[in-house]
Amino acid sequence: MKKLINTADTLVEDALNGMAAAHPSLRIRDQVVYRAEGPRHGKVGLVSGGGSGHEPLHAGFVGYGMLDAACPGEVFTSPVPDQIIEATRAVDGGAGVLHIVKNYTGDVLNFEMAAELVESVEVASVLVDDDVAVQDSLYTAGRRGTGATLFVEKMAGALAEEGAPLAEVARVAGEVDERSRSFGIALSSCTTPHAGKPTFDLPDNQVELGIGIHGEPGRTRAPMASARELAAIAMEAIHGDMPLHGDLLVMVNGMGGTPLMELYVVFAEVASFVKGKGARVSRSLVGNYVTSLDMQGFSVTVCRLDDALTRLWDAPVETPGLRWGR
């Protein structure tokens, strides 16, 4: 294993120190990342968090038009309630706080505990569960939260910035999740710094279908194929769950170890698939946004837009990971 780290034990802290040094717009205290300017009176605060290793998610999305605070845990490990409680209290501008939680057992438990324990702040929660690779049933922990987390944080963030009340921000956050679906494919595993070797072995001629964002294996393996064929597998899975029509926001997201050039190759195939179904790519995003350390591969996330959501997507945003219009 070769990684640019000092020690595995200080990795998260060292990376946060780097973020603070690189981005004066952020303030970092007790392993929570805040906007430097602090809460704005009357604005709903947005707090998210989760394991580290998915950068720029979540800390890279703290700033105008998105999050007010992010709580990074250890690599692939949810944050602890203390971080979430502290963040929730610190960002409350008197209008309440929305917790944006990816649907993983650890994230859900720790955010639930924090919401119970935090006093004097009105808290609402939205659960992101967009991954169609997992059957949502009694026989699983439910669908995972993956790429749609970025959509939820962006659109709910824009709405909060306009001064909408907590109930409305929470409703729209839930609506974005309901209208979004994702599917991921890995060409390689990833190496967590503590384990020191790839989480799973994947032969050169095979891919993992339906992966999450923690280096966990997917549901099945398939032979390595062209970008066109792999994009079609992902899009068929999404289309089979939520038939594509109308205006779509489409993200082709890299898992951390795939060149942008290849992501564009995938995007061309995705766009062509969408067109073939009679739908339209109205907005798009291509790049590494919801990653899994050094994993090679991609995920596609599709959100069915309407005018209101399109406006929220287009609204100004200024964070280390996403910025436009301001």
């Binding site: 250890e74 922990a141 503590h194 280096g215």
Partner: protein, 208 residues
């Protein structure tokens, strides 16, 4: 050993910390197969904090040991295992009567397992830590019924937990991260059940 004192409970967590440290890589490898390769690391970090807290603020009762350990695991581990293990010990601390008899321990432990199942929404056979802790709780209840001594009772509970952990191998996971794998989770021991068996083994050692 008729009753269990503060020192016994401290020894339990110290031994659990030692066993998890010793088996850290094995737990992480089990987790790599069907999860995200961090269970050993996280639990080792949490139990190190637990023993540190117990040394820094020496508890004066079994209840204090359990509530300190529970709070530390909830606050310091993260992931699912922190709140889940933490809730077992926190609930035990609430249900425990002093002086602690085997019957009292067994009853409080059962309350802890009930709290765990409620929080994690997991049932027996879902391939989770419940699959090790429920048989252990049953073994303790049977030992109380049969009038078995504490030392023997904890050994039986440890054996039941170890067998329960091994019995997760052929199961398909229905809760936690392994459930995402569907049928591919079959054939692997659940890392949470494996670490739960270590907690019970530590209990037997503390009583020996």
């Amino acid at each position: 050993m008729d009753t269990m004192d503060t020192g016994f409970f401290v020894a339990w967590f110290e031994e659990a910390a030692r066993l998890v440290r010793r088996d850290r890589d094995r737990l992480t490898e089990l987790d790599a197969a069907i999860g995200d390769a961090d269970h050993g690391t996280n639990l080792d970090r949490g139990l190190t904090e637990v023993t540190k807290a117990l040394a820094e603020w020496p508890p004066s009762s079994p209840v204090q040991v359990l509530s300190s350990a529970g709070a530390t695991l909830i606050r310091r581990v993260g992931g699912a295992s922190g709140p889940l293990y933490g809730s077992v010990f926190r609930q035990m601390s609430k249900a425990l009567d002093t002086p602690v008899t085997l019957a009292g321990f067994a009853a409080a432990f059962d309350q802890g397992v009930v709290a765990l199942q409620r929080l994690g929404k997991a049932a027996l056979g879902d391939k989770t830590m419940v699959d090790a802790l429920t048989p252990a709780s049953r073994a303790l209840a049977l030992a109380v019924r049969d009038g078995v001594g504490a030392r023997e009772a904890f050994e039986q509970a440890a054996r039941a937990a170890a067998e329960g952990a091994k019995a997760t191998i052929p199961l398909q996971a229905r809760k936690g991260r392994a459930s995402y794998l569907g049928e591919r989770s079959v054939g692997h021991e659940d890392p949470g059940a494996a670490s739960a068996a270590l907690f019970m083994a530590a209990l037997a050692t503390a009583a020996a």
